[in-house]
């Protein structure tokens, strides 16, 4: 139930620093000053086309706050790909170095720990509250748009819904929308009601006025519970795709569902999920645990009407979920373990992970990822677009671990005529099917009658190199382009 949506959400870490006076009429300001801290982080991105090179380096300001157990909660995007993290408290000039202890890029939350435990001298942890009611007042605290002093703004809760988190791009979780000003630098700051944290400010909508979003407490609590065992497992996924066609009476009758029964109709299941091969097309999901599913695929939970995904969102990986469903007019139940979302082609953006590559004779191969697609920019080639649009509904060979693309050609005499293949999907190298990057260099060990032949999906011509010349020039090309190693992929035998 993960979808790729083009919402223009903006992450609100301040990049540009300008002086803006802080709000003066903040409630309990002196108390908040003990809990809310400024985070300055320097990050360095990865280069997804030529992964041995470093990407851009940038510094930004965000906000964090102290929670129980001497921990600092903030947004993952404040510290993603971070190299250096510095904390500042409101009332002292002293700077503290911190490190990331836990991070979930999926729900944009991170826990930081200062190197010096003296940091917590004089701090007060904030308590996590509940979900604020729509139209109730909340205060947002943080360090927006520069300035050394804490800023507090007030607004009302506009609505609570599921929405795409712009940091991972493709993951949806619960959000609370507010009209309190949330600006760059507010990221990671607490949203307060009745002295308790009801959310973490994290993104805004650029196309509308006064639309800011915070991460609500069900998501925060899920993260805090998730890390109790010392690891981040993130959120589970139902593993099935549904359609809201029970609005059509004829369809209801066709699948022999009682006329008064609501639910969502299964159209497909995802490979690597607990329901793959168990749930079938035209099964009707009528309840998830105790929550009844309506014809819009929604449930009543936390006193609100939310997408049924929320019933799985609140569970930890490894917990059980019970689906009630109808098949051929019979009600059935099934209890399965909640598993993480593991699609073959993930549209979630990755952070803190070095991209993989292989290089042979100037041909650079990498695995297809969200980051790669963002790096090449523009419209992807037809084959990539096809894969992105239809990957959920295509049954891939179970041997496939990932998709491999030719990301660049480091120009040399040996590969002079290889233009036109960049950004295409590699199918075979020297007759060997490529299921993962680890297969690439192995496939170059044996030539085909003196040639290296790379075949691409949907291309009517292979890329052909003279095997001997390619072997001879392989190292020289690496030297010419300062490539430290031919691969960073560990090959298992």
């Amino acid at each position: 139930m993960k979808h790729f949506r083009g919402l223009s959400l903006i992450i609100i870490t301040a990049i540009v620093l300008s002086l803006v006076g802080s709000s003066a009429n903040a409630i309990e300001l002196s108390e908040l000053e003990k809990s809310v801290i400024m985070i300055r982080a320097t990050n360095q991105d990865f280069n997804f086309q030529m992964p041995w090179k470093q990407g851009n380096r940038a510094s930004g300001v965000g906000t964090g706050f102290v929670i129980a157990g001497n921990r600092i909660l903030t947004n993952a995007h404040n510290v993603a790909n971070g190299r250096e993290i510095e904390l500042r408290k409101q009332n002292t000039a002293q700077r503290f170095t911190a490190k990331v202890v836990f991070v979930s890029h999926s729900c944009d939350l991170a826990i930081l720990e200062p190197e010096d435990p003296m940091f917590f001298f004089g701090t007060e942890p904030l308590e996590i509250g509940g979900i604020p009611k729509v139209n109730s007042t909340v205060q947002t605290c943080g360090y927006p748009m520069g300035g050394q002093l804490l800023s507090v703004t007030e607004g009302v809760v506009s609505r609570v819904q599921m929405s795409v988190y712009s940091h991972p791009r493709a993951d949806s979780h619960l959000v609370v929308q507010t009209d309190a000003a949330i600006n760059p630098g507010n990221s990671g700051g607490p949203v307060i009601q009745d002295g308790k944290v009801v959310g973490v400010a994290f993104q805004g909508l650029t196309s509308g006025d006064n639309i800011g979003y915070m991460i609500p407490t069900p998501v925060i609590n899920h993260f805090l519970k998730d890390i109790e065992d010392g690891t981040v497992n993130d959120f589970g996924n139902s593993g099935f795709v549904t359609a809201n066609v029970l609005h059509c009476d004829a369809f209801k009758k066709y699948i022999k569902l009682p006329a008064d029964q609501d639910g969502a109709v299964v159209v497909d299941t995802q490979a690597n999920s607990t329901v793959d091969g168990v749930l079938l097309a035209n099964d009707v999901i009528t309840a998830i645990d105790e929550y009844n599913v309506d014809n819009d695929g929604m449930i009543n939970i936390y006193g609100m009407r939310l997408l049924m995904d929320e019933a799985i969102e609140q569970k930890q990986i490894g917990e059980e979920v019970t689906y009630t469903f109808y098949r051929d007019g019979q009600e059935k139940q099934m209890t399965v373990e909640v598993l993480p979302n593991m699609p073959l082609l993930s549209l979630t953006k990755q952070y803190d992970i070095e991209p993989k590559y292989c290089l042979y004779s100037g041909l650079v191969f990498t695995n297809l990822s969200r980051n790669y697609l963002e790096a090449i920019g523009g419209a992807p080639t037809f084959q990539l677009r096809y894969l992105l649009n239809h990957s959920m509904e295509t049954k891939f060979d179970p041997k496939r671990e990932e998709f491999v693309v030719l990301s660049a050609v480091l120009s040399d005499e040996v590969n002079t005529y290889t233009d036109g293949f960049t950004n295409e999907l590699v199918e075979k190298i020297n007759g060997v099917q490529i299921w993962s990057l680890a297969d690439v260099l192995k496939a170059f060990e044996k030539d085909v009658d003196g040639f290296f032949v790379v075949e691409f999906k949907g291309q009517n011509k292979p890329l052909v190199l003279d095997a001997q010349k390619a072997r001879d020039s392989h190292r020289a090309i690496m030297e010419k382009y300062n490539v430290p190693a031919e691969t960073n992929v560990k090959v298992q035998d």
Partner: protein, 502 residues
């Protein structure tokens, strides 16, 4: 070899004609005589009203439009005219030189590939017979040409330009390529149908304008092929290559394909469609060394005695349907000669019809669901990049590949919202796979399956992750016959070409 001789003779004949006509023309030019007088008896002003069908709401027609142009007489009551100007024509009026009243005309032949149409005038309304123009196959790069047209007010107008270059190219209405001359410094924009003359001789017909002052003309060779073809009353059209090629300049790739080092020429066959010239003989991966005895270079060009380097297309399009064309190729490391029969195809033979000119799109509406036969205009009308990759994939890769089991791709286009189709109203661009349990080959079969169904529901299944579409048959009948006609004025619930029913 027989064909080369024929071609050679034709060229020779043209040369002789040129020589014999040389003297008087020179005199005329010296005396600055206006050639308008010579050609006016062959000119006509043409007015065409078109009324195209809408692509998606295919039960309706768009706004009628009228455009003017210029025809050139090729018989006493026949003119040639650009084919793109008569697409979806409902009314054609022609005013030949020397009369003020219009004469009704009808389309006799259209060849969208060469952008030529032959229009027949109602003879009895004509004040006098027109004088046919003879087209001369001559080309001089950089030479000045003069062009003439008969304006709507009966006055002959002329303009000048230079022959900038020749080009073998496809125009937007066509799926193949032809030889055109490109004109530069055009004194007044070519619109269509002007007589283009070089040294006082007609060499082509104005076809298009591009940019501020350049334009293109359909050349004599193509016009004469078109006219010659029709002489026996059966128009067959130009042969069309079934294959596409790409350059083969990489020495490693050449060796990999088994081409010996001493052979430096030949281009690479990237794709062979099942219809057209070479469909049954050429294979993807072949290296074409020569066509009809003319050696192709690594870019697929041959050395033409007049035009110098030129794409191989004319080596095929110049032939007549059924002619034998010798191909010399490399395949699997062996040089071989292939006998290829010059062939073309009708656009209806394609899986995704390249165009639907003059035809109402094929569609079925039931229960508010609008299904269409997928065509290229259907995809292009969505706008660039708007079609789903699945649809785009059919267009890119399968367009020519109709089989008995798959003659059409049928697509759910949109849904007219009704209480009986709730839940489905957001679906569009879905490719129909099965109708009532049967895999469909074409839209006519889908229509038949819907008509024959005795069950309570129609069940339509799509390619990809979509729910079955369930249509209550009895309610749908009421909607189709009562509600949609009354509320939306839709009178025609389907348009199916009967020819394809299995």
């Amino acid at each position: 070899m027989r064909n080369i001789n024929k071609y050679g003779l034709a060229l020779l004949a043209v040369c002789m004609l040129t020589l014999s006509a040389c003297q008087p023309v020179a005199k005329i030019e010296n005396a600055s005589v206006d050639l308008s007088d010579k050609f006016k008896v062959s000119m006509a002003y043409v007015e065409v009203t078109t009324y195209p069908w809408e692509t998606f709401q295919s039960w309706k027609q768009g706004d009628p439009g009228t455009s003017g142009g210029y025809g050139i007489a090729v018989a006493k009551d026949e003119i040639i005219y650009p084919a793109n100007k008569v697409i979806d024509a409902t009314d054609i009026k022609v005013k030949p030189f020397g009369q003020d009243d219009f004469v009704k005309a009808s389309v006799k032949i259209t060849d969208y590939e060469s952008n030529l149409a032959l229009l027949k005038l109602e003879t009895e309304k004509m004040a006098q017979p027109m004088v046919p123009v003879e087209f001369y196959d001559i080309y001089k790069k950089g030479a000045e040409v003069e062009f003439f047209k008969l304006k709507s007010n009966g006055v002959v107008d002329s303009g000048r330009a230079f022959i900038d270059d020749h080009q073998v190219s496809g125009i937007s209405i066509s799926y193949t390529r032809h030889l055109y001359f490109k004109l530069a410094n055009v004194s007044q924009a070519l619109s269509s149908g002007e007589i283009i003359t070089l040294d006082g001789k007609p060499i082509g017909m104005g076809s298009w304008s591009s940019g501020s002052n350049s334009g293109g003309i359909v050349v004599a060779k193509v016009i004469n092929h078109f006219l010659e073809d029709n002489k026996d009353g059966v128009y067959k059209g130009f042969p069309t290559p079934a294959f596409s090629t790409t350059r083969l300049i990489d020495p490693t790739m050449r060796r990999y394909l088994g081409v010996p080092a001493e052979i430096k020429n030949g281009c690479y066959v990237t794709n062979v469609n099942p219809i057209g010239t070479g469909a049954d003989v050429l294979k993807k991966g072949d290296v074409i060394l020569a066509i009809d005895g003319k050696e192709l270079d690594a870019y697929g060009r041959y050395m033409d005695p007049i035009f110098k380097e030129m794409s191989y297309y004319p080596l095929i399009t110049d032939k007549q349907i059924g002619d034998n064309i010798k191909f010399e190729i490399y395949r699997d490391g062996k040089k071989m000669e292939l006998d290829v029969t010059a062939a073309n195809f009708k656009v209806e033979e394609m899986l995704i019809d390249y165009y639907t000119y003059g035809k109402q799109p094929e569609y079925i509406i039931t229960n508010g669901f609008v299904f269409h036969k997928l065509t290229r205009p259907y995809v292009t009308a969505q706008g660039a990049g708007r079609a789903l990759p699945r649809i785009e994939g059919y267009l890119n890769d399968e367009s020519y590949k109709a089989t008995k089991d798959r003659q059409d791709i049928v697509v759910l286009t949109f849904t007219i919202p009704l209480p009986t189709n709730r839940g489905y109203q957001n679906y569009s661009q879905l490719v129909v796979k099965n109708v009532n349990g049967t895999k469909i080959s074409n839209i006519a079969q889908m229509d038949q399956l819907l008509a024959e169904n005795k069950e309570e529901f129609h069940v339509i299944q799509f390619e990809g992750n979509y729910p079955d579409l369930v249509i209550p048959v009895a309610q749908a009948k009421e909607i189709d016959t009562m509600y949609l006609p009354k509320m939306y004025g839709i009178k025609q619930m389907k348009n199916i070409e009967k020819s394809k029913v299995n």
